[in-house]
Amino acid sequence: MTRTVEHVVCPTCGCLCDDLVVEVDGTRVTQARRACPNGRTFFKSYDPTPRLPRVHGREVEWNEAIAEAARMLTQARSPLIYGLSSTATEAQRCAVELADRLGAILDTTSSLCHGPAVLAMQSVGLPGCTLGEIRSNADLVIFWGCNPAVSHPRHFARYSLPPANRRSRVAVVVDVRPTATSDIADLFLQVEPGSDLEILTALRALVHARPLSARAIGGVPLANWEDLAGRMKSCRMGVVFAGVGLTMSQGRDLNLGELFSLVAELNDCTRFAAMPMRGHGNVAGADQVLTWQSGYPFAVNYGRGFPRYGPGEFSAVDVLAHGEADAALIIASDPLAHLPSSSAVHLREIPVVAIDPRESLTTRIAQVVLPTACYGLDAAGTYYRMDGVPIRLRPVISSARPTDEQALQQLLDSVVRVSAGAVPTC
């Protein structure tokens, strides 16, 4: 029998659209109305059939898998815990406790996407706002180094360019190549790769009417930047959405620091905000949880018994590229698919425990695989939207699988027992 569930939250990307109407037939989602193609795939491709955990490719009982995972992690001298961007804050909290107990290095996918934005925020502050404020008030929307038409397809309709007031707002895209987002923009500025910092410093100078000698910046005539600076100063409310084109190009946090400084200075003459265009559903939550638990948002090392911060040193990509981890626990992430090959190679060489509702490249090479329930589908949990607003996810189907939080709690209990000298129970 088919039933309909309303006001469902899609946990796929940082938009966390909460207006979906989902049709469920038994234990499968058959329709996800209002969802974009990315969201529809997420809902319809999920198979909640209970699966047994695997240890070295062999299906085993849950307790045996937990005991083996605890053994692997406690025997490691330099364990790494990584992922966390597609799981609920409840599970993230457990992961922090586990890292603390193990003396592990803990990192999230933030370090590969918007970590530099967090560094810039710590350095110069972030003049932010909520997506609701942007929906209601913004009349100048700038997309810098991001392509939400593909990565966050409902961002326009729900937050940045709602159809009802599309005509009253100007959309500007700054990017190194034409994209699906630049196709719908009122103004597209195609810039040279790696020139973001020059442009942002120039915009800061132009906003303050300071003289510039260059005739073109980033391959775009100075007159265009003067025009943009004028629009920024004269708008009623403006916002810049910063994508990984800014955070992962040369300059990284320096680019973001310059952007946040520019936006802060614009608030002397109008209302302006900046917002990192967070990708994964709960990567913003991972920053929040790690910050309130450890004091730092990502790249945290508990090796000395207290948290230490080391972007570039304790980031998973660096730890793995330098071969400095001898076991890894991967939670709700697929680093083999996303990490640079220099890091992925090492991940293939060390014992890996994977906690994930779905099969992935990483679960295929993991020595221990713990199949869990999926938040927003068959588990309840809290996610943070890209603007830092927490949203509660409800299950739309029932399942017999444990949640990430339950799996991590059991793993934590087992680690405590192993550390105390007890023989792991199978």
Partner: protein, 273 residues
């Protein structure tokens, strides 16, 4: 020279944090006591003697041998004595050091000399990123001392430095002297792009070539022969940096910036013509 010698027992691949390897800690200790100093190996404390063979006469001067690529924080916070490293050294070499001298035959990892306040760090190979710079969240990087690199330095050398001298014989990566507050940075090879981004005061001196033009927020000031440069260059020549007579007698183009901050910083570019 008599010294305490630490020879790495094996190729260490997991991270080792060896902030106990400083002349201050080792001075006056017997070999056994040196071997018992704690170092962090991965997430566990281990006696130094488990990872290094200790020999020598127990003096404060240290010689380290072997591949120490994964050994971090050597000489952290040292105030006196010398450390000679025959091989590569890991991250944070000589960070927060206040005195003494460290020499490295080969390459060093990132953040060497970060927050350094005094002493001298001499690297005969290449330096990793963030040489003499600030740690995330800190307002000031290097506040004193001298860093000499014969090879190249990676990105963001001297970021947020407040005082002191960094000289790089080769080239630098992106953003040399970014957010510099004061101090001096000399580059004999190619000065990396976006030099001095956000700098307030201080001098960046390019004695070789430029990877790209100066940022638009720097303004051309003049062409001249700065008197103070003679003084610095003579010291650098004495320390073995590749200073030529032309550098000493030549003219320099001066750019000032970054106008988005104080605008009192300068980039001096040796005029080859």
């Amino acid at each position: 020279m008599s010294a305490t010698v630490l020879q790495a027992r094996a190729n260490l691949t997991l991270p080792v944090e060896a902030d106990s390897i400083t002349p201050d800690r080792i001075d006056g200790l017997q070999q056994v006591a040196v071997g018992n100093l704690p170092i962090l190996y991965g997430r566990e404390w281990a006696p130094l003697g488990d990872l290094f063979a200790v020999s020598g006469d127990g003096r404060a001067d240290l010689v380290l041998e072997g591949d120490l690529t994964h050994v971090k924080r050597i000489g952290q916070g040292m105030t006196r004595g010398t450390i000679a490293i025959h091989g590569n050294a890991g991250l944070h070499l000589g960070s927060q050091m206040r005195g003494g001298e460290i020499t490295v035959d080969s390459n060093v990892g990132g953040w060497a000399g970060a927050h350094m306040a005094g002493g001298r760090l001499r690297i005969y190979g290449d330096a990793g990123p963030m040489l003499g710079s600030a740690y995330p969240g800190e307002r000031r990087g290097m506040t004193g001392g001298v860093i000499l690199v014969e090879g190249s330095a990676a990105a963001r050398v001297g970021e947020r430095m407040r005082r002191g001298l960094i000289a790089v014989g080769g080239s630098t990566g992106d953003f040399p002297g970014a957010r510099m507050i004061a101090g001096s940075l000399f580059v004999f090879g190619q000065l990396g792009p976006r030099a001095g981004a956000g700098m307030k005061r201080g001098s960046i001196v390019s004695l070789g070539s430029l990877a790209s033009g100066v940022l638009p927020t720097f303004q051309y000031s003049c062409r001249f022969a700065p008197g103070f440069l003679q003084l610095y260059l003579r010291y650098l020549l004495r320390w073995g940096m590749p200073v030529t007579p032309a550098h000493l007698q030549g003219q320099y183009q001066r750019y000032t910036g970054d106008i988005n901050t104080l605008g009192k910083g300068e980039i001096l570019i040796y005029d080859q013509h």
